[in-house]
């Protein structure tokens, strides 16, 4: 079993994992930069989060060091809390302007 797992992972190299992570990051960033809907932008940040997590797990495996995975547990917990907060914020922002368009919030310029 352990061999199987080991082999399975052996087939997936670090490069694969990092490519996945990079792809997630690129998609998230592209979405964040191109979309103006607050919820979509938030989901895009979550995507970038996942990119980081994937990279961390991959490096943990690569170095055979579990602290990467421990970190991931923590990050997931924090991300869950943060998701709740961020969605609450989005709801509040929506109530203020009754729109989800990020363009409605540009007072901090200049």
């Amino acid at each position: 079993m352990s061999m199987l797992a080991s082999d399975t992972f052996a087939a997936v190299s670090l490069a694969h994992a990092l490519l996945l992570s990079g792809a997630l990051m690129a998609i998230g960033m592209a979405g964040f930069l191109s979309r103006r809907n607050l919820i979509v932008m938030f989901l895009c940040t979550e995507l970038m989060f996942q990119a980081a997590i994937v990279a961390m797990v991959a490096f943990g495996r690569w170095y055979w060091d579990f602290s990467g995975q421990i970190f991931v547990i923590f990050i997931l917990t924090v991300a869950a809390a943060e998701a709740a907060l961020a969605l609450a914020l989005v709801v509040l922002l929506f109530r203020r302007r009754s729109t989800l368009d990020a363009e409605a919030w540009t007072e901090l310029r200049e």
């Binding site: 960033m29 103006r36 932008m41 990020a102 919030w105 540009t106 310029r109 200049e110």
Partner: protein
Amino acid sequence: MSLFGLSLPLLAQGTPAVPMSEVVIAPELWWAGLIMLLPLLSLVLCGLCAAFKVKSKLPAVITTVCLAGAFITSVFLFLNYTPPGDVVPLLDWINLSWGSGQFESFSANFSLYIDSLSLLWIMFVTGLATLITIYASEYMEPDLGKGYSRFFAGVSVFIFAMSALVLSDNLLMLYLGWEGVGFASYWLIGYYYKRPAAVAAAKKAFIVNRIGDLGLALAVYLIWTTFGTVQYDELMTVIQDGSYKTVYDGWTISVIPFLLMLAAFGKSAQLPLYVWLPDAMEGPTPVSALIHAATMVTAGIYLVARTYPLFMLEPVSLHVVAWVGGLTALLAATIGMAQYDIKRIMAYSTISQLGFMFLGLGVLSTYGAAYHVFTHAFFKAVLFLACGAIMHGFAGQLDLRKISGLRHIKGWRIVAWTMFVGAIALAGFPFTAGYFSKDAILAEAFVTQGPGFEILGWMAIVTAGMTAYYTFRVWFRVCAGPVQFEPGDELHGDDAHDNGGEFHPHAPRFAINSVLIIIAIGSVVAIVPYFMSNQADAQITGGWIADMVHDSTAVDGVPTHTAVVVGHADQAHDHGHPTLLGMDPHYAMYWISGTVGMVGLFLAAWLHLWRRSDADALRGWLRGHAFVSWLPRAMERKWYVDEVYIALIRLPLWILGHIFFAFDRFIIDGIFVDGVARIPRGVARWLQPLQSGAVQSHAVVMAGGIGLIILLMALFIQFGWFGGVL
């Protein structure tokens, strides 16, 4: 050596002929401090009156009572002090000592130096102040509930400072009082602070006085470094025993009297610093009478008399004092002859009379100077107060061409005749107080040897004639002649209430009239001290005032100083005394000054009483002839002194001020202060477009930044410290 040789070369050696009498420390006279405390109390109470918006005459009553208390205290002090003088310690103020040597201590305490000079001054200051506050209680009536308390608070401050000046036992406290009276003068000249002219006059008085004050401050400093003390009794002792010579480095002794002189000329309105006094007439008339005629302006005389031994150490300084005094007397008299504003005429007359006093100090007649201060205080006060009553009753009218025949108007007889009493004294009419006090000075100008003192004496005699002329020009124009008047432009509500708005001067009432009568009597009685002698010493025949001055520091250090204070002839004159017209100058002067006084009076009567048209004809004739036409114009324009000062001092200072202003505005502010502040602003303006507020654009910048960092790190990893790239 003759008694009247007064040999100045001897003075230059600083040889004391008479040992200094010991001054007694007298703590039992502590109540003398009341003279200073009562005006202070009055100030506080007047301040409270102002705070509680008292609408009655309470502030006047408080001030009068307090000043009367101060006067009574000074009279008691006169009866109880021990000649030659007492020092009354009140409070310790500065009492430093860092060794036992002569220059290793500095004390300046609140102690009173009670000698005849300070007593003479404090008695007439507090006495006249009491009377003038009574006068002011009526005069200031239109301001009841408005500036009334402020006015009397100002008077209280003035008397407090003046008593500190006069009674202090050291130069530092004198300096405090000196600044205090300057401040009180500023306060009261600017009393009508809504009138721009009054504000300008107050500033002018203060600023011109600052020049003199600088002289005093430097003098006090140099006196300490030269003599090691600023306390009068120690100072006089050091001068007497010559112990300062061990450290005397040559030049300070010659400079000190000139600095003191500068101070005295500023405060006592002498050339070149007299210009503030005529403008000071913008203040209420009681102030002009009290501060700018009778008391404060004599502070300069007091200072010179008090520090007389310092002047004796440098005889040239006394020659300068005499000449400046004589020239000021002449100049101010010529200006006074051609003015139309009666208060201004009195102001120029004050400057001129102060010039006489300085002349007296300069020609070694400290007695004459002190006596003239004393008599002048009375007759000039009564003249000013009469002018004030006229101004008050005729709605601010001061032009002598527009009021006439006052003595025939009902209710104005007291003003007219008390003014007459003051005028004959000022004119030096024979057997008036002014006649005797002025003669004492004039005669001494012919007795004392000095550079051109004889010319100076004749100049002063001419000035005395002019004095008689301008004084009676005012009196004959205003008080005599046909009844005619026009009101000034300060109409009160009650001036025109009946007869369909026709103007009715409101005659002075009880307070003003009674004060005028009392001071007029005082100016007559002021001759008594001249004939009264209570000193056993037969040498001293100048009367009571001469005794007083004789006991004070004004003559300590003067060789054969009894001779200096001899007012008129005695057996001492036999010894090589200079003569005038074949007579002893003191006798001759009775005839000469009496005559010039009469001539001046006669001229005034001719031009301003009997044939007034002749005055205009004379003026027209003068102006019509090219070679003299400048004369009346220059006299009326006050010899263009103000204009010259504007051109020589004010204009350059104004230009300099604007240059500094421009430097400050454009260089300091523009380049340094604002310039530095502009740097972050400029940077911010450059970076401002980055702050669009749109989340995406921020994110792009962030992503770009991260990308840049990654790129740099990659390059770093690849090439190490950018070595390959840069």
